[in-house]
Amino acid sequence: MQDRQSFADDDEKTKCCIAAMIEAERVILARRRAELEDCACKSGMFPDPGRRRALFAAGTALAAGVGSALAPARAGERKAPPGAVLRDVPDDPTRVPGTPVADDGGYGTRSQFETEVRQRFPTPTTISSWTMTPLDKSEGVITPSGLHFERHHGGIPTIDPARHFLLVHGMVERPRKFSMADIRRLPSVSRLHFIECSGNGLTEWRKPTLKTVQGTHGLLSTSEWTGVQFSAIARQVGLREGAAWALAEGADAAVMTRSIPLEKLLTDAIVAYAQNGEALRPEQGYPLRLILPGWEGNTHIKWLRRIELSDKPFMTREETSKYTDLLGNGKARQFSFTMEAKSVITFPSGEMKLPGPGFYEVTGLAWSGRGRIARVEISADGGNSWQLAALQDPVLPVCTARFRFPWFWNGQPAVLQSRATDETGYEQPTLKQLIAIRGLAGPFGSVYHLNAIQSWAIAGDGSVSNVHA
């Protein structure tokens, strides 16, 4: 027999990654805190100085100190955050002309004072890895395209759309090859949908592990997707009797493949070429991506180049050895596509600090792969009592819903939770319930599809931490 110690298994690999992630998060948090000290706002709420300033301005006791909280920024001493251009900041912007119009070359940038970025999970290689969306800073329901989470298995390909084609073949009457120009001539739809990786939260099965909501829930993003319904493409090729599945294949170095039931493709699948009003970003599948609303992110094949109709699934690596959910009894669930109802409070969330008792607007996101969010309830006492939160209109099917809840913190320790119910009546479960059903197969449980209620503990000093309650 081989020596167990010398062998690395998935869990050991995951353990290494998580240890590295904890360390990476620690370094980032330390850096953010150091930046905060520079701006003389120590008592504020990590990690968003902008939000803290707004809160101070709205408050009473601390309102007098607002002016000094804005440290003057000098170009040359700082590096522009990704996606920003560093400019000199005048003392009084009403006394000097601003930047010349169209000086940006015709494509805008964000403010140099905005710093949120995706954070990479430190997997052993940067070719197969993922980044997480900074949900702690999220507003409304749309994720800026440049902050949409990523999961790549073979790096991000660079694809010339003039040389990219979609082939549709297999159990069809008329195999067809579509250029990008062809695709854009077909009837189109635009829909808002979330995408969530089924591995979102994989570190959290046994104990609270990552500290921020970016770490615990950041494999979730929402965009408006524009493209062609698969049903329209199906009519062009003519589905043959007996076709029941289709293989979707990407044009990346992983040549990513998943088998998709035809019923799903004919229900609401979109072959998308645009995201949030412009062409897809390269890391989101440029020039073409399959959108399967409400299904695990891995099935939304990026860089889509081929759809092969079949009578049976192909049993690819990503639907057998990965993206299957090992249960406590040793059996594994396969083709567990649906992302079930889930929610998380994004403010206040892990590693923030409330400056003192008083009013706070608790806010967050709720979503379900089975339809619309019907309601979100908030508990401030660890789930003993619940109150309804307000949902931002419109509440769309298979899209994140922003919830808001007015809360007066009395300064005593509290545990904040949100609980989503979708329009089917499915209620977001507790972690205990999920583990009772699925078991804990190893240090990371069944890895995928953790949709349990998240708890944030508020300590007496206002600091917020990730807990299991």
């Binding site: 049993m315 649906t338 209620e427």
Partner: protein, 190 residues
Amino acid sequence: MYTPRPIFALAAMLALTLNLAVRAQQGHPTRLNIGTTPSPQELARFFAIPPDGRGLPLGKGTYAAGQKVYAETCAACHGDKLQGIPTAGVGGDRLIGGRGTLASEAPVRTVESYWPYATTLFDYVKRAMPLTAPGSLSDEQVYSVVAFILGEANILPKNSTLDAGSLPPVAMPNRDGFVPDPRPEIELYR
């Protein structure tokens, strides 16, 4: 034989034409004649191998040849004992061992203990391995390295030859280890 008077025939044709014109403005016609027909050669460069082996290429490979392929193109990431290398910059999965561990507190998921189909291993190696040069192995090399891995996993003898006929029937230990998705879980409605 009935012959309509010309004026009625004209009116009928006009009505038909108008009707078609109106219909063309309503909704989407189903067949748009957009796109082209791919040639068999264009389609032949793609593959996805299901469990019945449909589409497996010609050629064959041996355990012995696979040992060499593995040492040259796989061992750097997956380890010389197929043990996996989880460290930064490498990250190759462990490929063998772990039988009987799936229901334990420390499940070890490998080709040997977890993968239900040998065809998946062929498809994935041909498709995406090695990580830094995907698609660079010949079909013979892929058959060979699959024979080597399955030999090291004690699923096949260490002198086996694999081809399109012998790969699909390989009995993988965890072939029956998968269950359909039962969600929504009925336990949540009690």
